[in-house]
Amino acid sequence: MITNKKIKIIVPEKLGLSGQSFEQSWKIIRHAIDHIYNDDMADLSFEQVYRTIYTIVLNRKGPILYNKLKTYLIQKLCFSRETALRNEARNYEFLETMAELWEKQCHCFKIIGDLMMYMDKVYCKPNRHLEVYDMCLDLFRIEILQRCSPSLISALTSDIEGIRSSGFVDAKHTSIWRILIGMMETLHDNRDNFFLTDFEPVLISTTEEYYDRVIDIKLLTPIQSLKKIKNLKQFENVLDSCFLNADSQNKLKAVLGNVLIWGKLINVIEDLTHEAMKLSDEKLLQEIYDLFSEEKYRITIIESIKSYIAQIAMKIPFKDGGRKKGQNAISWSSGVVNLFHRQRLFLDKIKFGFIRFNNSTVNKPADLAILHDVFTAYFSKEGPLPSEYISTYVDYCMKRANEDGLEIVEIKQDLLESTEIIEMLSEKDIFEKKYKKQLSRRLLQRKSNIEIERWMVRMIKNALGTFFTSKLEIMLRDVCLSFEILQAFRDSRTNSIEYLNFVPQVLTRTSWPFQSTNPIDDSISLPPRMSQILASFEEYYSSKYEERMLKWAHHLSVIEIGCQFNNGYYEISFSVYAGAIFLLFEDYEELTLEEIHELTHIPKEDVKFLVTSMSTMPKCKILKKSSDSGNIKFSVNYFFSSSNRKVKVPVIAGPISSHKSDNFARQTLVDTDENEKCMEINATIVRIMKEEGRFSHQQLLEETMRQTRSRFDLTPSVFRRSIQLLLEKEYIQRDADDASYYHCLF
């Protein structure tokens, strides 16, 4: 049998301190605890106490020891409570006593825990009891903290309030608070620590009340309020960082935000923002912005910034009674460009951080997004006028290149600002129309620098997209191409006519903003030298581009004639018609209107207008009228004189150039725009219906709006017109049962 003659393993007797009764052992332990509490450990042998505990635990007396220890510690704690905390005062001394008590007890708990570590390991852990140190803490919680908690909480909050009122962070106080809060955070029931369950809510609410009480914003100016609130906030943050954990600090920050900033300051936020904007004080604005860390409040600030800029924009005058439309346009536009430029420089300095805008301008930096919103709203409120004005402004800048001899760089600088404005125009179509018209005029009359024009079209392309600029590009191309053709044409001619400087412009008809050619152009008979050269150019051109048809648009052309008058030599520029009439006087001394009509085939009405303009206008009175027995004749006015060498015969209101007066010109522009819009909408609707087959009115309206948004704002009236048209042409049909639905018929 293997069980025989074996070495017996006898555990407890061998290593433990044998022969002690439990009572004797407990006496030793109690003695040790007493000495630990009296901080008199010089005669206390760790070895002895540890081994006593070891023996007890080994003898399975752990539970008894654990309970005895508990009872004894409760006694100790009760004694401390009775003696140290008897003073019921709710003041700083009370806090000090409490903190001292806590630290002392912790110190003792720690040493007792160390002594008991064998019991922790062998008895407490396997039996799921709290380890001795934790058990001690729990006793402290029950015996001291819970019993004193109302006094403690009120003493602590009132002390904190006292320090707040004094406005001075007293390290002596905060260090006591820190100890006490450390205590509250250490002690916990099964759920959460005491600080979280009992103290923090009180702290938060008292803080809230305190700061709500401490400042009355109605008595201060916005700037003063800001300053005061900033100081309070800073003070509280510094104070909190002295005694609270980061989590609670953040909670209090939020409370401060609630009470001070959105509780109080929010009422004056708009005033504050406007104030900062008015002072152009970017530091102040930044400060305001940073104070409001929550997004919704930041958006309020941004809205205030917008409203401020919008206010200024509204003040820029659209019309100044005394001035002409062009001048209005220029002064308004430069006002807008200037405002934009200034605000952009200003806002650029503000760090907006990440902020979500509620519209489509997400990809832009915050400052641009703000300006974009402001100006877009402003322009769309003003209708088509801003678009025309801006185009006119560009026109003005362009012309300055030739007139004032400004550096290209400077002009580009001016234009650069306006390109950013263009992007924000609501009526981009109007802008395009107007721009095209003005560009054509500049190009044909060579009023601007072609290089800048090209650059500008590129900029517009960047801002609006190719869609808007394709025709402008063709116009520029035509002009350049014409120059090349002219060169080639001249080279091809052996006997050039030196005294005639012929500059043809071959224009792509569809791309230029002219209705059609003038009917007179087919019948007019020009002076032979002119018709000759036109004929030879036609011949040259058709030999080069066989399939192209060339048609002369005299109403767009200009003739310059040098002429010696009695008082000097003048270069006079005419419309082709006027020029043709004037040239007649090379061969005739005097002519009646009837004769002029016969010689030129220009309709009588037009002849009358043209001759009148040359004979009545003081600046270009180059013809004189003589009446001979009711027969009115015209001849060259050799006494004509002018201060300028160059004289222009204006194409004044007459039946040829325009059948309508200037006042109606804009109307036409808008009209044609409406028509084109209508066509565009028709096309869009047809596209949508082809895809959908059946669609309700509302759906169709929304979808069409969505698709055309990039070009113009669709108004329901235009939309209805379009629908009506399509119904008439039987592209679509109303549903037989539900009239709000449409069917596709193709």
Binding site: I9, K14, M41, A42, F46, E47, Y54
Partner: protein
Amino acid sequence: MASMSMDKNFEELCYSCRTGDIDNLDRLISTGVNLNGVDKFDNSPLFLASLCGHEEVVKLLLQRGAVCDRDRFEGARCIYGALNEAIKETLLSYDISKAVDVKQSFATHVSSIYNEESFLSRDISFRAPNGQLFTAHRFLLCARSEVLAEKMTNEWAKIEIVPIEVHSDIFEIFLKFLYLIPILHQIEPGQYEELIKLSSDLSIELLPEFLDKARHIADPTKKSRLMSDYQYKFTEIARNQLLLFVNNCIFSSAVDVAEDEQQTTSLMNCPAYPDIQLSVKNRNGTTRVYPCHLAILNRAKYFKVMFTNNFKEKLTYVKAKDLSGHNNGVATQLTLPNCEFEVAEIILRYLYADSTDISWMYAVDVLLLADILLEDRLKTITSTIITQSKEFIQEHNVFDVLYLSWEIGVERLEQFAAKFIAMHLQELYKDPEIEKAILLSSERISLRQETDTIELVDDIRYYLLRKYSFEPDDVELFQNQDDLEYLKEVGYLEYRKDMEMLESILTDLELDV
């Protein structure tokens, strides 16, 4: 299948460690891959991540339980293979913090006493030419270098501050080296010459050899490999040196005091340069006093805690140190619980030199002593020795072993006992002790709460299956079989016999399990 997918996961894990794919790594770790395994080139995931310089990966691995044990070759390799200093720091910090909790490993502890800034005494100082002062422990220097030991018995015996001629930076590296702090990678090219000279003068084993090799290697990979190889060797050498020191200086200086005598001689001037006297009383009533060092005893939690608070022991120690410097006066006297001197010496060898050369004869006593000293690692090691020793179980009653395992809470031993009982059930069947053991085990239920089974019975059943290499499914299968020849052949009949014995014991005990 399971193991195959595990292998695949491990491969993927290693790959993620190379590429630094921390998310995938995180996922793989959650599948339960062994983080401390090695691939076919013997590289551990931690080594790969360190080498490839993925600090975050290294951190994650360490957090999830990858071990960087500097006392093992693999750990040292990680540290020296680390691509940058930050990773090295991370590894070292984990090595130390983990080690304090669970391992108290040797090199880490020796390193830690270099920086220990508490009241612990250092009894010798060196003043470098630039005035910088280095303090050290005589006993450690003595153990680490014969030349230094020699000097201390002669010219340095009475001096507390020794002036040195070596540059302070060189001396610092050297001193750290003696304390096993891994500084090999910090040696600058310009320092080799002087270090070689210093270490040769003091006849430091292998260090000159290493330095000579290292300074000619430029390839960082080769160099780090060399360093890890040597650091491991250095640690081994240091262990041997300390073991020699324990045997030659501590044990040979110990004095015996008979039961009724007073100790007359102080050990404070013995060649061990102690600051503590540790006395042990054996069964015959003789007391033996060993000259020891608190810096080393601290490795055991028992001593560490003893000196954390201001108990008598600490006050005496501090007073003795303040009063008398290093070599006279009374020393603090600590006692180990009564035990044979051999047992005390095993403990000391373990604490000083990580020696786990424990004879089975003393294993039980060592276990009990380790339990008092709260030295869990020693308990585990000793239990392993018990379970692997053939003689032990022949000389001991298996039930005693079982009770012991319950007493000191070593599960390994509990399993060992249960297994032994299962294997020898037919012999032990008649032993009344088995019934007692089962009863005791059933009483322990209240302590465990989770299950209402008897752990010992469960364990025995489990090992009975193992005894016949059965799976639980097999038994079900066999129950429906009636081919007796076959059942006999596979061992089911024997198994059934064992099981019936166990059931009858339980029936006797009227236990319903």
